[in-house]
């Protein structure tokens, strides 16, 4: 597991195993979700995988009424908007993800700060199956 490259492919493979993984810089200790193959903070080259708690809070969000084709295919439209946002993990890094468990038809700015827990959404059949990162209130 620790031999996996610090790439999107590896991050996605971890997601399919329902694990949210960060790349940690062995030099300065900075954490990166999504992973980075070299440290953008100290330019160090030694990285290591660490699993994060999957807990965080909502930093910014929106309810999308006109989504991209992939979300339309997933069943979302003007009458059934979905929520997406930026989540700040308890460990510090921020990540974009779909937000579940809040009412996308009645959004409120006051939802910012809501504690969230990681969730994994499976979409598509057979070879087209893919795990999407989400967070749930």
């Amino acid at each position: 597991m620790t031999e996996r490259a610090f790439s999107e492919h590896s991050f996605q493979t971890f997601l399919s195993e329902h694990k949210l993984m960060a790349a940690k810089c062995e030099g300065c200790g900075a954490l990166f979700v999504p992973p980075r193959p070299m440290c953008p903070d100290c330019h160090g080259e030694e990285m290591a995988w660490v699993e994060v708690s999957g807990k965080g809070k909502l930093a910014a969000f929106t309810a999308v009424y006109i989504g991209p084709n992939a979300m339309i295919a997933a069943g979302y439209d003007r009458k059934n908007p979905y929520m997406t946002g930026v989540v700040q993990l308890d460990e510090g890094p921020l990540i974009s993800a779909q937000i579940l468990g809040l009412d996308a038809a009645q959004p409120e700015v006051g939802s910012i700060g809501t504690p969230l827990k990681v969730a994994f959404i499976e979409r598509g059949e057979e070879e087209a199956q893919r795990t999407f990162l989400a967070f749930e209130a």
């Binding site: 969000f61 929106t62 979905y82 997406t84 930026v86 974009s96 779909q98 990162l133």
Partner: protein, 420 residues
């Protein structure tokens, strides 16, 4: 950081644009020729096209929008300027703001005396869903778009973060749309060359004609709160919070300051330029401002040796209404968190102390993404020379600024102009 200076002075001596709008019968070539002719007509003492030594053309994605790559040499060819070097510049919606900077640096370096910069984009050839997909590629296709983000969605997320921190309301955003349409109504080149009041009237007349119930909006605010007239796109942003899908081209002529007076007795000098980059939205510690825009502004102000207080007029990147409010803070016109109050108090109207987007901005003038940055310089060239017609501000504009953003702020480029 060492204070940076340009190698020599560079002046804008001509600036023009095509009509912005939706033109199913036109390609980027047609629109660029239109922009070139408009620019040439603006050169007071005339321009021999053969004087031009190089071209820098901003273009986000003719590849996706028109299935045409390698566009810069085509533009050179269509205005008869081959074999001069022609370079395409791509930084999403900041493409031609960055093209302007590349042209500026090329002239300042001494490599050329006369450079044509500009931008091109034709977006209406694709169905709207495909336009959304094409624009999304300016975000992070690995980590942002799979989360369900769209461009309105990104700016909507910045809006919720901003509203949560500073108590801004959707009505403050609506004031930006109202103002920019008021300005665009006075710009014959604008895609939406009408006030929101006029849009309302048009909808009423259309309902009457079709024998439908005539809507009874008491005023523009009621119209803007109507889910049918102004549908939600990405909460809290509605249709009238978003810039349109636009076809258009822009052209700006840069020359070394030494020869500027061969072209005009009223040149506009570019005295400050700054550009910065950043990661995805989720890589930023502060979601209520655009760090790259603050950095680019700081660089431009330092180079120019002026401050935000000195600037009389600015064109800023209002791809969404919230973006204008954040921009007015990032360029230092207002303190962080005060931009929304300034918009509501009318401080940024043509008659206010800090006029913003007198052209109508991207919101009303239109946003042909790769052409928009150089388009801002076109308006500044007019305002500084007192040639903005009915929308001319009623004061001496000796210093002005343009602020152009790519994506959600992965690129930002700022220029400061002086009339001597």
């Amino acid at each position: 950081m060492t204070k940076r200076k340009l190698g020599r002075g560079v002046a804008v001596v001509g600036a023009g644009m095509s009509k912005f709008g939706a033109f199913p019968e036109k390609t980027t070539r047609d629109l660029f020729v239109e922009a070139f002719k408009d620019m040439r007509a603006s050169v007071d003492k005339g321009l021999d096209a053969n004087d031009i030594e190089a071209l820098y053309i901003g273009n986000y994605s003719s590849d996706l929008f028109e299935r045409q790559g390698h566009t810069a040499p085509i533009m050179a060819d269509w205005i008869g300027l081959t074999p001069r070097p022609a370079t395409r510049v791509e930084d999403a919606c900041a493409s031609s703001g960055v093209a302007l900077r590349q042209g500026l640096l090329a002239v300042a370096s001494g490599a050329y005396d006369v450079v044509l910069v500009g931008g091109i984009e034709v977006m209406n050839k694709l169905p709207i869903a495909e336009v959304t997909e094409a624009l999304a590629t300016a975000g992070d296709m690995l980590y942002e778009i799979p989360a369900g983000f769209t461009f309105p969605g990104f700016y909507a997320a910045m809006a919720t973060a901003y509203m949560h921190r500073y108590g801004a309301t959707p009505e403050a955003l609506m004031q930006v749309a109202l103002k920019n349409h008021d300005n665009g109504a006075l710009n014959e080149k604008a895609q939406f060359n009408s006030t929101i009041a006029a849009v309302m009237e048009g909808k009423r007349r259309s309902a009457e004609k079709k024998g439908r119930p005539i809507p009874t909006w008491a005023n523009e605010m009621e119209f803007l709160h109507d889910d049918r007239a102004n549908p939600m796109i990405a909460w809290p942003l509605r249709l009238f919070d978003c810039s349109p899908v636009t076809d258009g081209a822009t052209a700006v002529l840069l020359v070394s300051e030494e020869i500027a007076r061969q072209y005009t007795d009223d040149p506009i000098t570019i005295i400050g330029s700054g550009q910065a980059s950043d990661g995805a939205l989720h890589d930023r510690p502060d979601l209520t401002s655009i760090g790259a825009a603050k950095k680019a502004s700081q660089m431009a102000y330092e180079m120019a040796g002026v401050t935000a207080n000195d600037i009389k007029v600015a064109e800023v990147h209002d791809c969404f209404t919230i973006a204008e409010i954040i921009a007015t803070e990032d360029i230092g016109f207002f303190e962080p968190g005060k931009g929304h109050e300034a918009a509501e108090e009318g401080l940024t109207t043509r008659h206010g102390p800090k006029p913003i987007n007198t052209s109508g901005g991207l919101k009303s003038k239109g946003h042909p993404v790769g052409a928009s940055g150089a388009g801002q310089a076109v308006e500044i060239f007019k305002q500084m020379r007192g040639k903005a017609g009915e929308r001319q501000v009623d004061r001496d504009v000796d210093l002005a600024l343009t602020h152009n953003v790519g994506g959600t702020g992965q690129t930002a480029v700022v220029h400061i102009y002086e009339r001597k």
